[in-house]
């Protein structure tokens, strides 16, 4: 893996490193350019996903190594629980807090 070349020419680690730097620069610039909130969120998600994959696949060797398949499955195993957490905690309906007992509503500080 460590001596793989991209397109037969470029060192994979260098290419990945430069790609990450460029994507981060775009990310920061996008926020500085004052797009609407929706477009900004779209850009940030659109950049975070490939950055995440680039680090996991190339720097963490999930792509191209002999154990890649089983280790990738291991890495994906918590995805099920992550989806549950995000869907049922992170993205519950905004009004849901009104229906919760008082002690677990936002703003309850009588600890």
């Amino acid at each position: 893996m460590s001596d793989h070349l991209l397109f037969g020419k470029f060192d994979l680690y260098w290419a990945n490193f430069i790609g990450l730097i460029v994507l981060t620069a775009i990310e920061v610039a996008a926020v500085g350019l004052d797009f609407s909130e929706t477009i900004t969120l779209f850009i940030l998600v659109g950049i975070a996903i490939p950055k995440f994959i680039m680090i996991a696949a190339i720097f963490m060797h999930l792509w191209g190594d002999k154990d890649s398949k089983i280790l990738t499955l291991t890495a994906l195993f918590p995805a099920f629980f992550i989806v549950i957490m995000v869907l049922f905690i992170g993205l519950t309906h905004p009004e849901a807090s009104i229906g919760l007992p008082e002690w677990c509503r936002p703003g309850y500080y009588k600890l």
Binding site: S2, Y13, W14, N16, F17, L20, I21, T24, E27, V28, V31, G32, E37, T40, L41, L44, V45, I47, A48, K51, F52, I55, A56, F59, M60, H61, D67, I70, L71, L73, T74, A75, F77, P78, F81, I82, M85, V86, I89, G90, L91, T92, P94, A96, S97, P106, G107, Y109, L111
Partner: protein, 383 residues
């Protein structure tokens, strides 16, 4: 019992306390997990009785807290004695499905990282829940409802709303600079550590050993420096702030830290240094007719701005920010401890192709820290 394996097993007398003898087949049983579980159980149970909501309520159990910690440490010592590769070279392989013939430490590191992913997912879920579940302070301010409810500095009544840290951090290029530099620092450090691994792994004879030593310790040392820069800038951003001199187009001014701005976990009476007053709101509403109608509907057509300033309780938003970024920072700190040892070891020429996997396994942890930052930075600092 005539085959070699069982003969060896017979002579080996495997003990659940002693080190594994890897030349005699699969690792034997161990008491270590049970001992550590008991120790952690005693520790957590007694800590819960000593502290209640951050205050010490019963000091009589402190001795039991320490006993719990000692038992846990004892279990760790047994584990270390059993599984550590004391010659620094031997790499035991997993024997069970589905990880057969994969290095045990590599599998363990991945499983550990996935448990870490769950920790950060819970933090992200909490953040999303509150971010989307509580009205943003800007929306509350522009609705004018705080005027009707008299939630202002003069009355001392605060409105509960969500103020993402990005409102302060992404307010100018200078404010965003520490976080942005940290992002680049972590990416560069991910690159330097794979380069250290690459040089450590080069086959003996393909590279001069002195060149290998220098390259490995310089790359690891660079990673260490970048990690220190990360935490230093984190302190600047949280607590210290920085000074901008009058150079070129910039006028002389101070960039305040988050704490100096009042963005703390205790901020139940927060108001920004500029803004959130009803005079500004009236001007803003007049510029946007559609917002103006909503504003009038809330405050009434005869309301005259009095220079009242909205007061906000932002403890939920600041807590989610500091807990998440602080947990990430703690991981960076742990990485620095590991990097300190590894850099020293590399400086003494301790890394060879045979034991370079240590850098690989630490690298997995370090890349994971970078990976989490890839998510923390846009969603806590920029959005």
């Amino acid at each position: 019992m005539s085959d070699g394996y069982h003969d060896n097993e017979h002579e080996h007398h495997a003990s659940a306390w002693g080190p594994h003898d890897w030349s005699h087949g699969a690792p034997h049983n161990s008491w270590s997990p049970i001992i550590m579980s008991i120790g952690i159980g005693i520790f957590l149970y007694t800590v819960a009785s000593v502290y209640s909501w951050g205050e010490m309520v019963d000091s009589s159990s402190i001795a039991l807290v320490l006993i719990g910690m000692m038992i846990t440490f004892f279990g760790l010592l047994i584990w270390w004695r059993q599984d550590a590769s004391f010659d620094g070279v031997y790499e035991p392989k997993a024997t069970g499905t589905p990880f057969q013939n994969i290095e045990i430490r590599k599998v363990a590191m991945w499983v550990f990282l996935m448990s870490e992913m769950m920790v950060f997912t819970s933090l992200f879920s909490t953040y999303m829940r509150y971010r989307f579940g509580i009205d943003s302070c800007q929306e509350v301010y522009e609705s004018g409802s705080w005027i009707v409810n008299s939630q202002n500095v003069d009355t001392g009544e605060a409105v509960n709303c969500f103020l993402p840290a990005s409102e302060l951090i992404a307010s100018s290029w200078f404010h965003i600079a520490p976080g942005a530099i940290n992002t680049f620092a972590l990416i560069v450090s991910s690159f330097t550590i794979v380069q250290a691994l690459r040089w450590a792994k080069k086959p003996v004879g393909s590279v001069d050993e002195e060149v290998r030593r220098k390259r490995v310790y310089r790359y690891l040392g660079s990673t260490w420096v970048l990690a220190i820069i990360f935490l230093t800038l984190k302190m600047v951003e949280w607590f210290i702030g920085f000074y901008i001199p009058a150079i070129g187009p910039f006028h002389e001014h101070d960039i305040m830290s988050l704490v100096e701005e009042g963005y703390t976990i205790h901020a139940d009476h927060y108001h920004p240094h500029h803004g959130w007053d009803d005079v500004h709101l009236a001007e803003l509403a007049a510029l946007h007719p559609e917002d103006y109608q909503a504003y009038l509907a809330a405050v009434g057509p005869n309301y005259e701005p009095t220079n009242a300033v909205m007061l906000a309780d932002i403890r939920v938003s600041s807590s989610t920010f500091f807990v998440t970024t602080g947990t990430h920072g703690a991981h960076v700190f742990i990485g620095i401890i590991g990097l300190t040892y590894m850099t020293w070891k590399a400086w003494t020429g301790g890394y060879t192709p045979q034991n370079a996997v240590s850098i690989e396994y630490f690298g997995l942890y370090w890349h994971f820290v970078d990976l989490i930052w890839v998510l923390v930075f846009p969603f806590f600092y920029l959005y």
